[in-house]
Symmetry: C2
Subunit: 418 residues, 2 copies
């Protein structure tokens, strides 16, 4: 098979479909979302059957239990996919919104109109529900999508793709508006990320090595999320009970997620009143603590944190703790070690909160809240296609708006430049 030719074909289809999608009205797009949801529900038996092929192959191939669980589709998860699509239909359509249309001294009116990006390429791993989620978000934002799931989920993804195509057709939208790459050859990804004439942006979702490789090789712009080394900083003027509640929740609510806290910073002036209590709570949860010298003087029997610890995303029940002299030292630590994902301060001091909000250069900066809130649903975006740690275009949770752009519009009445 000629992969380049195959991918060029998908690209051309997507570019053509993107024009139809860009002018599709909200009602049509919502009809498609509902029709896809209905088709997924109606195809439940077939989805489970196709999924079982992936599960069997996965078991035979030695996938671990966690990966098999991520891969698995059951009735509840299929209902969840359909429900997700209906929720996307309920979100406001970002396309066509005109903002800031004002008269200029020349007499022309100038404003901005929100428009789809065009064609979005999404590369993801194992979870088949991403196929429906990503397709739904791209569709609502008026974009065509080319989806590349993991080879371990190929049967499941292709079955979901059939439901998507059926729903698109029912709404009289081109079935090429969402295309799933059906070859598992790695070269297909290489093509996808280097055809800017057909693809406007790439969203990789998956492990750090996948994302680093894609970013290094792509000539299409990438909206990416590299890693989440998130911090909670307990300022000397923190309320003790809020500090303990937030630091405990940020670490233990879920371990394997990008918005979990990996390093706790505490002012020396307050450390003695919070760290011993917190350490006791963490111990009960089975969280391994690693501390700086001062932390170890305060909490006995824990490992020393090395320089490497400050730069590690554990995604596990491990926490590094550092005692700092004050806000300046905390900001310096964040400058050197934060991955720019999410960092929080706990304080009752308005001046400290104001400086922290302004000076911490992360996609989400929080005051007196758990880093676990960094999430498209919690932020009211409705859904997210990922969390960007880039500064360009979209930063933080990327919802429908992040899948659009804005163009300038100018309205005159025969105006010319003098």
């Amino acid at each position: 098979m000629d992969i380049q030719r195959y991918m060029t074909g998908l690209g051309k289809n997507a570019r053509a479909a993107s024009r139809e999608l860009a002018r599709a009205n909200t009602g049509t797009k919502n009809s498609a979302l509902f029709a896809i949801a209905d088709s997924i529900i109606a195809s439940q038996a077939r989805l489970i059957e196709e999924n079982s092929k992936d599960l069997e192959a996965g078991k035979a191939g030695g996938l671990d239990d966690a990966l098999l669980d991520r891969l698995m589709l059951n009735e509840e998860r299929i209902q969840g996919m359909a429900e997700g699509l209906r929720q996307i239909a309920a979100l406001a359509d970002p396309v066509g919104e005109i903002t800031g249309l004002n008269y200029r001294p020349s007499g022309i009116q100038v404003g901005k109109m929100r428009v789809p990006l065009g064609v979005i390429g999404i590369i993801y791993e194992s979870r088949p529900n991403v196929t429906a989620d990503a397709a739904g978000l791209c569709l609502k934002a008026g974009n065509a999508a080319i989806l590349r799931g993991g080879s371990e989920a190929a049967h499941s993804n292709n079955a979901i793709a059939t439901c998507i195509k059926s729903g698109l057709s029912k709404a009289n939208l081109p079935s090429t508006a969402v295309q799933v790459i059906e070859v598992t050859d790695r070269a297909a990804v290489g093509e996808l990320i280097t055809m800017p004439q057909y693809v406007d942006v790439i969203v990789p979702r998956g492990g750090k090595s996948l994302i680093e490789r894609i970013s290094a090789e792509a000539t299409v712009p990438v909206i990416k999320h590299l890693h989440g080394i998130c911090h909670v900083y307990i300022h000397e003027k923190a309320d003790i009970s809020k500090a303990i509640r937030i630091a405990f929740n940020a670490k233990t609510h879920r371990y394997g997620v990008c918005n979990a806290m990996e390093t706790l910073l505490a002012d020396a002036a307050i450390a003695g009143r919070v760290l011993p209590q917190l350490a006791e709570q963490y111990r009960k949860e089975g969280v391994e603590l690693r501390g700086c010298r001062k932390t170890r003087e305060l909490i006995g029997g824990i490992k020393a944190a090395t320089e490497e610890d400050w730069d590690t995303e554990y995604l596990a029940p491990i926490l590094s703790i550092r005692i700092v002299a004050g806000l300046d030292e905390a900001l310096e630590h964040l400058h050197n070690h934060s991955s720019g994902h999410t960092d929080a301060i706990v304080t009752e001091d308005l001046g400290a909160a104001r400086r922290f909000l302004s000076e911490v250069d992360s996609s989400s900066v929080m005051v007196n809240a758990s880093t676990r809130f960094a999430d498209g649903f919690e932020y009211g975006l409705g859904a997210e296609i990922g969390i960007s740690t880039d500064k360009i275009h979209a930063r933080g949770p990327v919802g429908l708006e992040g899948l659009t752009s804005q163009k300038f519009i100018v309205i005159g009445d025969g105006h010319v430049r003098e």
Copy 2:
């Protein structure tokens, strides 16, 4: 000289300076802008002296008159640079603006705060005034800048850089907030565009080949403007006098600019009433016309337009003309040949205007106005660092806002995720 080491040094300085700039308040940044303006005025004699070295070398090196004119600094242009900086000081500071701060069902408040991008690398050619303009815009938006001007303007740029450093110091900002690359070795550009750890975005300004080379090689995101193949489309329901005024202005107001019209489209139903009159006006101005078959039937004695003409940015007194059947054919022509810069429709028909605004995928889309209005000053941005034909991040004229990003901010009162 070790270019890599030199550039790494500039990068580290810029990164460090960007932190100070990000937290500098509006008053401090404005003081620096005024101090740089004052320094430029005070250094007028030295600037003219240094510029004369560039001019002499340029003459000796065989630069043509147009390039020498672009390179030349005189009293008026030096006053203009200073005035430009004072105008930037008068613009609203985009940094720190908080928008959409709303309560979520969980009780947290979520909003966005506008923040600097960090470090901006700007690569430009011949005109030394860009050194002051670009430095001023980056500074006001809270970014550090690394500037790389053309080697033909090296003396002028270094003299302007001395004024900038003096102004920064007077305002107690780090003089490394704006650095001009002082080596003329091409390898310096290669380093600049491949150090994402120190540079957040590259803005290339110059010829198409320069920009294509930079885009292909950069690993830092690029805000670029490739070319401007701009169109005016005269719809059958156009007002004849508006159509003639706009089409004449869009072509003849200035030839060598990216927002000049390069192709005129006209509906067959109206072509006979506008094209002959327009052709007469263009002839008087010395504009060479090239037309499709139908156009040539209507206007005698003009060259045939080839397929290549529809994809050519003339930047010269040349215009290609095509007669189309109606709006659909015009949209199709734009889809195939517009460079996505600026396209305008002339019509009194609301439905046609609405479709054109919505379906044309260009950075500026206009109704009844000359494409020449596509400009940061005309749009009220105050100034522009360039016009982006990309879809990601900034599209169209890029002013202060395009040199910033937005981060999410979250304010709670001890809130945790349940």
